[in-house]
């Protein structure tokens, strides 16, 4: 088990490096002096030279990449060009809001999706199953920002049941949760559809497999079949989707944060991109990618624990 984890970690570090190279390289893909692009035209020529030197933009590319990489390993993600403040603390300040949103959304979708999926697989081919299937196909088509706009329109503007903007009062958990409900639901809708469909299909497949038949032949009652045997085999698929979905959620949160005007990582990245703060944007993206990669590792480990065929290969 330990060897498996170590292998995965090494592989992912390499991928991470690749990602950083892409990020870094993106700026160089654009024709023109990178320094000029980063500073835009805001600054007059004298200060420009100073800033260029201070930010190290006059060094050759390899050295800059090396310094950046070294800095990342030490938690130094660069500075905002305009204000000269460090990037990482700012990002970490807004990170909890994004994480909260993603977790809440994922939590809702797992609870609803798994329950519906199990029920639909159990009552296969009944009216209930068909209704649920139609609903989840519809839900899957609801891309996050469309769902967000719909929810915003109906529940916040027309019915005024939920607040439409912001994250709520600082320090007031209830208020913040209240502000979370609509955005998290918007994110969750399409995931409920995915998860339900996945649970229903993999559970259905497991329930009709040979080893379940053998278990029943040996007298194991139908009720414990689902809980003990079937779920464990189907859990692998669910865990994988949840893990991957997490990354998509983190990214998709971007739209939600903008539409609902919340503080969050996605919004900060977009704003940084608009104002040409490339260090900040890069840093934000890097944080998201690190989180995503971390979740992928955890998912792989959980899968290897559930299904021994993977780790013993």
């Amino acid at each position: 088990m330990g060897k498996y984890i170590a292998k995965r970690l090494v592989l992912l570090i390499f991928t991470l490096m690749g990602v950083m190279i892409i990020l870094f390289g993106m700026i160089y893909l654009i024709p023109g002096d990178p320094a000029v692009i980063m500073l835009h035209q805001r600054v007059n020529p004298e200060s420009k030279a100073l800033i260029i030197h201070r930010l190290g933009l006059d060094q050759p590319m390899l050295i800059r990449f090396g310094r950046y990489f070294w800095g990342v390993l030490h938690g130094d993600f660069g500075v905002y060009v305009m204000t000269n403040r460090a990037v990482l603390p700012e990002l970490l300040r807004v990170l909890p809001y994004t994480l909260g949103l993603a977790t809440f959304a994922m939590g809702i979708s797992i609870i609803i999706g798994v329950t519906l999926g199990i029920l639909a697989a159990f009552y296969k081919d009944t009216l209930f199953d068909h209704i649920v299937t139609v609903l989840s196909t519809a839900a899957v088509s609801m891309v996050d920002y469309v769902a967000a706009l719909i929810l915003l329109l109906i529940f916040a503007v027309k019915l005024d049941w939920f607040p439409s903007l912001g994250i709520g009062e600082r320090g007031n958990i209830i208020d913040q949760l209240y502000h979370l409900i609509l955005p998290a639901s918007a994110l969750a809708i399409s995931w409920v559809g995915y998860i339900e469909r996945l649970v229903r299909e993999s559970l259905g497949e497991v329930l009709s497999s040979d080893y379940i038949k053998t278990a029943r032949l040996f007298g194991i009652p139908k009720s414990s079949i689902v809980y003990k045997y079937a779920l464990r085999n189907a859990a692998k698929a669910v865990v994988t989707v949840v893990g991957l979905g997490w990354g998509v959620l983190l990214g998709g949160a971007v739209f939600i944060e903008i539409i609902f005007n919340r503080l969050g990582l996605g919004k900060s990245i977009i704003q940084a991109l608009y104002s040409r703060e490339y260090f900040a944007a890069q840093g934000g993206i890097l944080v998201i990618v690190i989180l995503f990669v971390g979740v992928v590792i955890i998912v792989d480990i959980i899968c290897a624990y559930i299904d021994p065929r993977i780790r013993l290969r």
Binding site: T15, L16, I22, I30, T137, V143, L153, L273
Partner: protein
């Protein structure tokens, strides 16, 4: 008139290519007919066909002039004249939706075409030349792109590279999607590669290019066609999302995302501005889901047995 290159004359080679193409077309016709047999397939095809028709017919089927500004009639709710209401400049929303398909559909279709071609080629190469440096590099490329949550990648690229030109948009979104296809094709190629008829072709001395495109390709193409059907919707959504944030299709060209953004800005004055584009996008997405579900059933002989 023997050509020293291939022992075929140019005219004969052209004839061969034409014949092969028509044979593929004939095969696909059967698949298409199968699609129409399923309920999902019918609805899905209907929607997609309608979409393409709108894009083609464009300006001729709009009930009103999509660009005509009538300030006096801003924020009007739906009526006979303006079936989906008017926006903040008094323009008919339905007409604007119809005409925005002219912009959106070609972009999405091009993206799909590119990712199928590039994804399939890279996947086949990676799968065929497994355990070589080439494969490792290609996989590393796939993984690196895939670790970005899609929106982040596209947005960042759009912001940096600038998204004024349509071609750039197309390339960006192709870059975002193609690794998924590449991976699937690679896995399929790995298993198809071991089949006996491939070994036979190799033993007969068929060149690698021939093996890849003539033998392997038809066998690995099925899953990504289904994926492509779904992705058409996904790409359209992403395009609209980009336009929503101001980084996609630029005015004065009309696009669904932009209409959404305008609706968002004026959400308190008129809810109808949002309803139209939301309906349109949802219809596109549902149509694509149904179409690709029908496609999946049609392509899978086990599921379509007994119909």
């Amino acid at each position: 008139m023997k050509n020293s290159k291939n022992n075929y004359s140019a005219a004969q080679r052209w004839y061969n290519i034409k014949r092969r193409f028509l044979y593929q077309v004939k095969k696909q016709k059967r698949v298409l007919i199968n699609i129409i047999k399923t309920p999902q397939g019918i609805v899905g095809t209907f929607i997609i066909a309608g979409l393409i028709l709108c894009a083609l017919a464009g300006p001729w089927i709009t009930p009103q002039d999509p660009f005509k500004i009538v300030i006096a009639n801003r924020f009007a709710p739906p009526s006979f004249k303006y079936l989906l209401g008017t926006d903040f400049l008094g323009r008919d929303i339905l007409s604007r939706i119809i005409i925005s398909t002219r912009v959106v559909v070609p972009i999405s279709l091009s993206v799909i075409a590119i990712i199928i071609i590039v994804g399939m080629t890279s996947g086949m190469v990676a799968g065929y030349y497994s355990n070589t440096i080439v494969e490792k590099i290609i996989i590393w490329m796939f993984d690196s792109i895939n670790t970005f949550p899609g929106i982040i990648l596209v947005l960042t690229l759009a912001a940096i590279v600038g998204s004024s030109s349509k071609i750039v948009l197309i390339l960006l979104m192709s870059l975002w999607r193609f690794p998924g296809y590449g991976r699937i094709v690679r896995v399929e190629t790995l298993s198809v590669k071991e089949e006996v008829y491939i070994k036979a072709a190799q033993a007969l001395g068929v060149k690698e290019k021939g093996i890849l495109f003539h033998h392997i390709m038809p066998n690995v193409i099925a899953p990504i066609i289904v994926l492509a059907g779904m992705d058409f919707g996904v790409v359209t959504m992403m395009l609209a999302g980009l336009s929503f944030l101001g980084m996609g299709v630029q005015p004065p060209a009309c696009s669904l995302g932009r209409m959404l953004q305008e609706g968002y800005v004026y959400i308190h004055q008129s809810s109808w501005m949002l309803v139209g584009p939301i309906l349109a996008l949802s219809v596109v997405m549902i149509g694509c889901s149904l179409f690709s579900a029908g496609l999946r059933i049609a392509l899978n002989p086990k599921e379509s047995f007994g119909r």
